[in-house]
């Protein structure tokens, strides 16, 4: 008898527990494979602690192959699903050849995604907290802010650098701002030029209180703790827009900051959104057995699925499985039983589960918990929270290692090592009216194209007394000096309104100009049109970049 192939796509709580249970319950009859974009499982609730260096990143994730030793794990990106031919198309490795994976049963457990597009500037200027890379990015960013704040002479810049804002006060937002505050507090003794009273933390929530899914008294306790520790909690106010130097709230307040962490904008996984499945509230509608109707052998679980807990749930969110790890784990197990039952011609069981409670860490070894109806807060709740994670780790070895590391880390100086990463070569940058894009004396780093809004360029030549001004609108460029050998800006560019530019970093732009000699011609004409010729004052000069372009790599 050939084994039936079960494919699980997505390696979060739902996918991992489904795959594990499928392998166990179907041993000998099922061939189970799990596909995930990363080769590790992320214990997402611990990401804020990774960002704060409270724990090693290796202690918040588990390699999927170590979690699922008896089944095939494939690190690959899912490109599409062919429901008719029952195959999943994936791409793996550096060689971009699509690979078809046949399935008899397919479990979609892709979770959800983040979409910040409703908030102008937030997609480009906010950090998120979904994956391990996000945690590393936040950590590196916060340390970088401290490094620069310690040596800058500009009070305005220092204020931005020392203001940390979290948008969204669910579990993730609360934990993140608490942990960032912890990192900053512990690191501070190494930054001699930063005073405690120069640092600001904000937690911004659109609802009327933080932790909206929590009992009100626990949320009040959490608010109190955060406030005691210098975190300003702003509720009943939303986020309107963001730039690289500030966040604007719906009440018109503008908070100057270099650090915005957004934990809002939950949205369907991009692939799930395009599958043409019956969706509701951005989730795949399933029956009570977690089958997605319309296709043979298709199941959905976890945050990606909308699983009814009653026969006619209609629009009552309480009658659907909630999007938590607790539920996903139970769904995964029940799903495995149903898949095996289906194969054996037995009856399927509807999914049923009642939450045992919830936990939120507040950093500083404190947490709030509501478990089996019992409310806890403080250190005891925090120990419970840590214990819950340890219990999940596979094997005694891993538990011991993580446990020891936690102990060791707790008595150590914070790890303020900043692993720098290169910013992307092309990116969109938002500016608010009056913001400076660059000013005379700045190092030239790239080239700007106006996408939306407008900017004013002002050049004053101190020697000759000459003055040049020009307005740039959509499609116009500025910062052409990137193509010249000169290294400092001579002009001031200010946003005339809320605007967006496309920024292309110097290296990428130079390479591009090389790929397209046509740009050279275009550039000459553009200079002619904009500045009235290369020989005119303030023209960015001749195409002296040619020599550079002609050097072979």
């Amino acid at each position: 008898m050939t084994k039936k192939k079960v494919l699980v796509i997505g390696g979060g709580f739902g996918g991992v527990f489904a795959a594990k249970a499928l392998e166990k319950q179907g041993r000998g009859k099922l061939e189970v494979e799990l596909v995930n974009a990363n080769n590790y499982f992320v214990f997402q609730p611990l990401l804020p602690e990774v960002a704060a260096s409270s724990i090693h990143s290796a202690d918040a994730v588990v390699p999927l192959r170590q979690l699922l030793t008896r089944l095939q794990v494939r690190q690959a990106e899912v490109m599409g699903i062919d429901f008719a031919d029952k195959k999943v198309i994936v791409v793996q490795g550096a060689r971009r050849v699509p690979v078809n994976l046949h399935y008899d049963e397919l479990v979609i457990a892709l979770g959800t995604s983040v979409d910040l597009n409703r908030f102008p500037g937030l997609p480009e200027h906010a950090l998120t907290m979904k994956d391990l890379a996000d945690a590393h990015r936040l950590r590196t960013h916060v340390i970088g802010c401290l490094e620069t704040a310690d040596v800058t002479d500009d009070p305005e810049v220092k204020r931005q650098l020392l203001t940390f804002v979290a948008v969204g006060a669910g579990f993730s937002g609360v934990e993140t701002i608490a942990e960032v505050r912890e990192l900053v507090r512990r690191a501070l003794k190494y930054y001699h030029n930063i005073r405690t009273d120069e640092i600001r933390f904000y937690l911004i929530e659109y609802a009327n209180r933080i932790l909206p899914t929590f009992p009100a008294d626990l949320a009040a306790y959490a608010t109190q703790r955060l406030t005691i520790h210098g975190i300003e909690v702003l509720t009943g106010v939303g986020t309107k827009s963001a730039t690289g130097t500030a966040v604007e709230l719906t009440d018109g307040r503008i908070i100057p900051t270099s650090t915005i962490v957004a934990t809002i904008g939950n949205s369907p996984h991009p692939l799930v959104a395009t599958l043409g499945l019956d969706m509701k509230w951005g989730r795949i509608k399933t029956d009570r057995f977690m089958r997605a109707p319309g296709h043979d052998g298709l199941w959905a679980i976890g945050d990606a699925a909308l699983i009814p807990l009653a026969d006619d749930p209609d629009d009552d969110p309480m009658l659907y499985a909630t999007q938590t790890a607790q539920f996903a784990v139970r769904e995964g197990r029940q799903l495995a039983a149903n898949v095996v039952a289906r194969m054996n011609g037995k009856e399927l069981k509807p999914f049923a589960y009642t939450s045992k409670g919830s936990l939120a860490s507040l950093g500083m070894s404190k947490a709030v918990a509501d478990v089996y109806g019992i409310k806890l807060s403080g250190t005891l709740a925090w120990l419970l929270w840590r214990g819950f994670y340890l219990s999940f780790l596979p094997g005694f070895q891993a538990k011991l290692r993580v446990g020891i590391n936690w102990l060791v880390n707790s008595v150590m100086p914070p790890n303020i090592v900043q692993i720098q990463s290169n910013p992307p070569a092309t990116r969109y940058i938002h500016y608010r009216k009056g913001d400076r894009v660059f000013e005379p004396g700045m190092i030239i780093d790239g080239f700007y194209t106006v996408v939306k809004g407008s900017f004013r360029l002002i050049i004053d030549n101190a020697e000759t007394g000459e003055h040049f001004e020009k307005v740039f609108g959509p499609g116009d460029h500025f910062g052409e000096r990137v193509l010249l050998s000169s290294s400092l800006r001579t002009g001031l560019v200010v946003a005339r309104e809320d605007s967006i530019v496309l920024f292309i970093a110097q290296k990428a732009f130079t390479r591009l100009a090389r790929a397209f000699p046509i740009l050279d011609v275009y550039y000459k004409e553009y200079i002619e049109r904009t500045f009235g010729g290369h020989d005119k004052a303030f023209a960015p000069g001749s195409t002296s970049h040619k020599a550079e372009l002609e050097t072979l790599p």
Copy 2:
């Protein structure tokens, strides 16, 4: 009395020990500041172990601020030095404003850099081992190779993925290949589809034996140990060139591989090379007191400096301080004494030191050592090697933490978590004659411009039986489908000779086309010229990418 300002640029062994000693010996009289591009000190010899996950990255580096608590540390990039005005120009943080740092005494301790340009393809396709980011990159890369090798169906690709090559067999090359082998060996049990006999390791050295600075019998022992562990040691052969899929040796051998680690190509620090100082062998010539002649208050130490150990050393390398940590530490201390002596009008002392020996780790808890003339090999040497590092760590706490982590890690399963990072948006790719750039059915990922050499494009339409061929030379482009909505390649592109392309990733290219509508016009003409019009068979199609470009970010 105003304090004298001593600026130390570079945070390696030399810089750190100089700064520490300067602060101590000059307390009250000197203001010491250390400038470094990273905010941490790297214990470079441990990087291969970080790459192999044998130790946490945090245990191979120490934040400079924790190492130098009593002086100012500045994370900044040095842009230039104005010797006449006695100031160093640096750039720090995201705001690209140059900052001038005045000095009375300047210590250049910038170390050396890597320049692989003598080997075509090596700069683009080899990994290096200079910094913490390099170690992370290598680790991620090796794990990625295992992930793909476990699931690929292509034997040729599998062979490349499972072949690991280190170029250069000094300390760093030997340790790196030994540690990579260790990582692969330990990780293997989680990759069910990879057999041990499919994996190959090579260590390539131009000299006639490995570890050229070591006693011959110790090098022989090391060679023997590496060979026992399946590492093929090739001596007396150099590296000629590299591509993304192979390395070519000077004897004509071609080794198919996805992983080349280069520990060769030592060269002056880019800034040091442009200072106009008196240089020899790529190092700043100093007098016996470590002063760099020609400028007031200028000193140089560490790998960047060429410090004579005798009055007339001429061309005898043995009469100069060697480029090792041991020497750098002594130089730093002696330099501090000399700076203070100069300030007090006392006599300076010439630098004198004799090496106490050297150590090289061979991975697998083995090492070779030559200490005070006593030769050691095996586990004892390895313990000595670890002990040396511990002794260097600042404070008992740090020693304890690292010691515990080493113990814990040694009994743990290897960390095979792969933190993926995005490849750069523009990059040069080398191809050997006959290499395929892409083939029909591959996912479209970017756009190619020929920089050097030539390529043949072949399109066969199975349905119509039509056949199209074209040769592309320097300045030509291929892969235009990146601009269309279609997602798979239809053509085969093969290198006709050894060639180089500039690759621009899809996202960057689309953004670019948006910034320069002129590219659209150019592209139309190009299609016309190349394929004879959009309506012709095999033409990449109309400019249907416009819709995409018009979407706001």
